[in-house]
């Protein structure tokens, strides 16, 4: 279970998070929605320790993340970044098997390669791509490689940061389906950030909307269309007019 309690974060004079409270139950998939610049990515980065919150606490399985061993904590995580964040200088299979090629989890080269190819196959990529470099792949294929890397260590928790941004609707559908399959099959706890409402409906068990630095609304996916929250209603239906001010 992931629990965020009263999370605050400011950058210079900009208060991005003003007391975020989220609970994600073990094995469930939460989708975090909200306008651009509302702090969705900052929230995830706070959990991962990439950004230090000014105030508030984060618990994973009941343990405060600040009091746990960082390597052990990170070994439970997988993350798919918005731009895939593949390492340009490494071939695809080494990107996927990164953890097993260096550091404390190092394994034999061939063994790591075999596991990487197996994970690539799981996300629908053939072994032909294993020796290519990220720049040689399309955006959709890079996302799949990012997904293969995220699931490589059989994590307990996976974060997906805008997994379908920049993809065509068909490829978005493929990625959404893959994410849902993987979440269900592996029984992981997942948090996804997205603006894409078709992704929300495909991936989420629960939805939380971040607005003005706090969680404006949270509930199961089934309640998304029958909520009386005007902010959520405006966001879900993509209306220019409403309580959320858009730059005209």
């Amino acid at each position: 279970m992931i629990k965020l309690e009263n999370l605050h974060k400011s950058f210079d004079n900009n208060d991005v998070l003003k007391g975020v409270n989220i609970t994600v139950n073990k094995g469930s998939s939460l989708v975090l929605i909200g306008g651009s610049g509302t702090g969705k990515s900052v929230t995830l980065k706070c959990v991962l320790g990439l950004v230090t919150p000014d105030k508030g606490r984060i618990f994973i399985d009941g343990r405060d993340v600040n009091k746990t061993d960082r390597d052990a904590f990170l070994s439970k995580f997988g993350m798919l970044f918005q731009g895939s964040a593949l390492f340009d200088s490494l071939p695809i299979w080494q990107n996927v098997a990164f953890r097993l090629l260096r550091g404390p989890y190092k394994k034999l080269h061939n063994e790591a390669r075999q596991i990487a190819i197996e994970k690539l196959r799981r996300v629908g990529l053939s072994m032909n791509v294993a020796d290519k470099f990220p720049a040689e792949l399309s955006g959709g294929m890079q996302k799949r490689v990012g997904l293969a890397r995220a699931i490589f260590a059989d994590p307990e928790i996976i974060f997906f940061d805008e997994p379908t941004t920049g993809l065509d609707p068909i490829m978005s559908g493929v990625i959404n389906k893959l994410i849902r399959e993987i979440v269900v099959e592996m029984g992981v706890t997942a948090i996804t950030i997205t603006h894409d409402m078709s992704s929300v409906r495909a991936i989420a068990d629960d939805v939380a909307m971040l607005h003005d630095g706090i969680i404006q609304w949270t509930g199961p996916i089934g309640d998304l269309d029958c909520s009386s929250d005007p902010c959520l209603d405006q966001f879900v239906n993509g209306r220019a007019n409403g309580p959320i001010k858009a730059i005209q």
């Binding site: 991962l48 995580f77 390492f87 550091g103």
Partner: protein, 260 residues
């Protein structure tokens, strides 16, 4: 601008300078701390040795060759004013080994390596590759900074040594083909006047310059702003700061080595 405005401007820039200095000092401390504590990424170190050392050899070699040749011409022309043309071999060798080899070699490596390191790491930061490293339980300081800093600290002295030899050879080629020196006499004068400490001091300078070059590349890359402009600014700052620090360090080391 009013007096108050001028004072505010000076104060603001002083604070910015002190903050930047503090960040660099902390970065140096963190780098040194990570250099002595594992895990070590040997493959990245070998790759950095090739990138920084081996691939810088042509540019350092060419710089040294032409500098040695030009130095021979200048010393010959200057020496002719008081009938001291014979000092060309000794001054070329001492000048190359003590000053021009390390400084010009260092500046050329700074231009080549600090820029590429800052651009590479800056791009990695902008495209979230550094965040990805963290999520893969890999410390970016250990994986990106330490191999580059260690490689540059080891490679640049060797490049300086090779550059010294090529520079002296440049002087020899110009001296024997253009200035009428006898080949054997030129080499004998070079060997007789050149002392081990001349070469060693230049190589120590090279090690310090190598440390500065990689450190500045990594520092500005890690602190790069967003987008192409952020990476561009980081690259420019890395080269400029590394170059200035090389010249400052060169003066300090020369004071320590030759006037103490």
């Amino acid at each position: 601008m009013t007096i108050n405005g001028s004072l505010a401007y000076i104060g603001r820039n002083t604070l910015l300078f002190l903050a930047a200095t503090g960040r660099i000092v902390l970065f140096v401390w963190n780098t040194l701390r990570h250099c002595v504590a594992g895990p070590f990424y040997w493959r990245e170190l070998v790759s950095a040795l090739v990138q920084i050392g081996w691939l810088s050899l042509p540019v350092v070699g060419l710089t040294a060759l032409f500098t040695g040749g030009a130095l021979a011409l200048q010393i010959y022309a200057g020496g002719a004013r008081f009938n001291a043309e014979a000092i060309v071999p000794s001054i070329v060798s001492i000048g190359m080994a003590r000053e021009l080899g390390p400084v010009l070699g260092g500046l050329m490596v700074a231009a080549r390596v600090a820029s590429s390191v800052a651009a590479e790491i800056g791009t990695m930061k902008v495209t979230e590759q550094i965040d990805a490293l963290v999520t893969l339980s890999t410390d970016p300081m250990k994986y990106l900074t330490v191999p580059r800093v260690v490689a540059a600290t080891l490679c640049v002295p060797l490049l300086v040594g090779v550059g010294d030899a090529i520079g002296i050879m440049g002087g020899y080629l110009v001296g024997t083909t253009r200035l009428g020196f006898n080949e054997v006499v030129y080499l004998k004068n070079t060997i007789d006047f050149l002392q081990t400490w001349d070469i060693l001091s230049g190589m120590i300078k090279g090690a310090v310059f190598g440390f500065i070059i990689a450190l500045m590349g990594c520092f500005y890359g890690m602190n790069s702003g967003r987008g192409a402009q952020g990476v561009g600014t980081a690259t420019k700052s890395a080269v400029v700061t590394a170059s200035v620090l090389i010249l400052v360090a060169n003066y300090i080391l020369t004071e320590v080595f030759f006037t103490a």
